[in-house]
């Protein structure tokens, strides 16, 4: 029983981190109608950036985010401007292929620079732990969760309390109509892409501090993230949050009561069952006719 409670708690805490990465994906899909299948590679790239700052410059992981997140934001703007904006026809399909290509390039570069050896981020709060009702929990889980809460709270304020958030939500609801009422949808798209990628970088830091990783981890990550956003309903931020936590709790509990080998398979199977009942996902809207 104690083990199950432990699994549920770690599931919720790591779920928060996944929520960071998944909310970036959801935002990008919602506003731009494109699925960034490179998100996994971006997360790993963020983790490696934190790794470099920590190893070479001895900058604390959380302080390092002040450098990596703006950097990744800039990278997001660049990718959007250089590769996604020029696509004029069949945006959704072609953008999936484009972001897949970006992921391959990132994977190749990481392998060349860092080799395929697994690494992990280090800090005092990664190794130190404290007792919670019978088991020990590393501080990084709490800190990572707090980071997720702070960033997602900031995202909430940005979306619901600012002029930019208003135009972002308008673009999410109807791109063409938003354009007609004078919203610069291209600018909104670029910034959204940047935000989505910066969030992924922050998630990557927390991810890299809790597990070992290499460039290949991107495949595992993207499969989970895609599963999470389908589960949550593609363009629903709230759905993505619920699905992230749900997935990680299910995985961790399966790992305890059955076997770690089956942990993610169980989630995927659950996903398939849910799609049978609700093809649009948990909180998704039914897809209507697209003109």
């Amino acid at each position: 029983m104690g083990l199950i409670i432990e699994a549920i708690i770690t599931g919720i805490l790591t779920g928060g981190v996944y929520a960071l990465m998944a909310s970036g994906l959801t935002l990008i899909f919602g506003v731009m109608d494109i699925i960034n299948v490179g998100q996994g590679a971006i997360v790993i790239l963020g983790a490696y950036l934190s790794y470099v700052l920590e190893q070479r410059l001895h900058i604390d992981l959380f302080v390092g985010l002040l450098i990596t997140m703006p950097l990744m934001f800039g990278l997001g703007l660049l990718i959007e401007w250089l590769l996604i904006r020029p696509i004029k026809r069949d945006r959704t399909m072609l953008s999936i292929l484009i972001t897949f290509g970006v992921a391959l390039i990132i994977e190749g570069i990481i392998n060349i620079v860092f080799s395929a050896d697994y690494v992990q981020l280090h800090a005092w709060y990664v190794t130190a732990s404290f007792p919670v009702g019978g088991f020990y929990l590393s501080y990084i889980y709490i800190f990572g969760f707090l980071l997720a809460v702070v960033l997602l709270g900031g995202l909430y304020l940005l979306l619901y309390r600012t002029q930019f958030g208003l135009s972002l939500r308008a673009s999410m609801q109807n791109r063409a109509a938003a354009e007609l009422i004078g919203i610069d949808v291209e600018r909104v798209s670029a910034i959204t892409f940047g935000i989505g990628i910066a969030l992924a970088a922050a998630g990557g830091m927390a991810f890299g501090a809790t597990t070992t990783f290499n460039a290949g981890s991107a495949y595992d990550l993207i499969s989970r993230l895609l599963a999470i956003i389908i589960f949550g309903g593609m363009s629903s931020l709230r759905g993505a949050l619920i699905a992230s936590v749900g997935m990680l709790v299910i995985e961790d509990v399966t790992a305890v009561v059955w076997s770690p080998v089956w942990a993610s398979t169980v989630f995927f199977i659950l996903l398939v069952i849910i799609l049978l009942v609700r093809p649009q996902g948990l909180l998704g809207q039914k897809e209507g006719r697209k003109q």
Binding site: D33, L83, D90, V102, L226
Partner: protein
Amino acid sequence: MSNSKLLQSTGLLLLLAMAIAFPLLFSNPAITAIAVFTLLFAAAATGWNIFSGYTGYIALGHAAYFGIGAYALAIMCQDWHIPGGYMPFLLVPVAGLLAAIAAIPLGGIALRVRRHTFVVITIAMFFILQLLAYNLRNITNGSTGMGLPIPTDWSGDFFNTPFYYVALAVLLFAIAISWWVRHSKYGLGLLAIRDDEDRALGLGVHVEASKLSAFVISAFIVGMVGAVWAYFVESIYPPVAFDALFDVAVTLMAFLGGVGTIAGPILGALLLEPTQQYFTLQFGQNYYLVIYGAMFLVVILLLPRGVIPTLTEYWTRLVGTRFIASAGDLSPTPIEPGFIASEQASSKEEQTREEGINL
């Protein structure tokens, strides 16, 4: 008109004769091995195109059926103690059939949603199957992988030849199916689904059945390719039998040559697969990833419709201009898309119109 048709069929026969004669002209095993892989990928891309190219539903998880075909052949050979030789080739259609059977429920679930989500679900399903290959240890041997029977009495120079002809047979089969689909009423229904699914439904196309059957047909072909490939490389592991790069490669080949055309995916495979093999040999796996990814981006940004549709368009324009010039003042005025329509809507309209001309 009949002249050009005669020319066309002579050209095709010539190509076929060249393909058959290839192993007789080149005996270097390194070259024939690349040829085998190229033919296999051409068949896989053609199979992928029968579903994704014609219906417009991009599947990014066909490596799942490739892997099922590969594992099916390995398991059958192991359980029935089949020795290396020509026997395993007879089981290739069976492996394809198993992949097709697996595609029925998987495709049924994935096709419940519309295009965008469909792509994501196919990727997720691919990962489920990869995980299963790792986890179902007593069937697949887990990460240790499985070996296939090795044909010991085929000597070095001859070794690739049987694989070459079997791969060619699979390719010809795939082309025949693709040609039949493209020229049948059924295929017309698939193209209608691509252009406007709701309207197709309204016009009486059996949308669900058409999509699912095309999905299963393409899984059958890709499954056979997986089986031949597994027998050729002699041992399989979960990450190589269920390889995410396969999904990308097949899609890229079809996009490079021209999605939704018959010759496009084959041309794409002929251009890409040898290049890929060359890059891997020349630069190693990691540089190859970067180059491949960059190539991917360039192809999609510069030639989003592929080589064949772009060239056909130039050709039509060239011939068309001459015709119009000789017809005098009858040049048609270009249709301007309504200025109020959003960019997306107008580009979609344009796309349908262009493809209507080309296909």
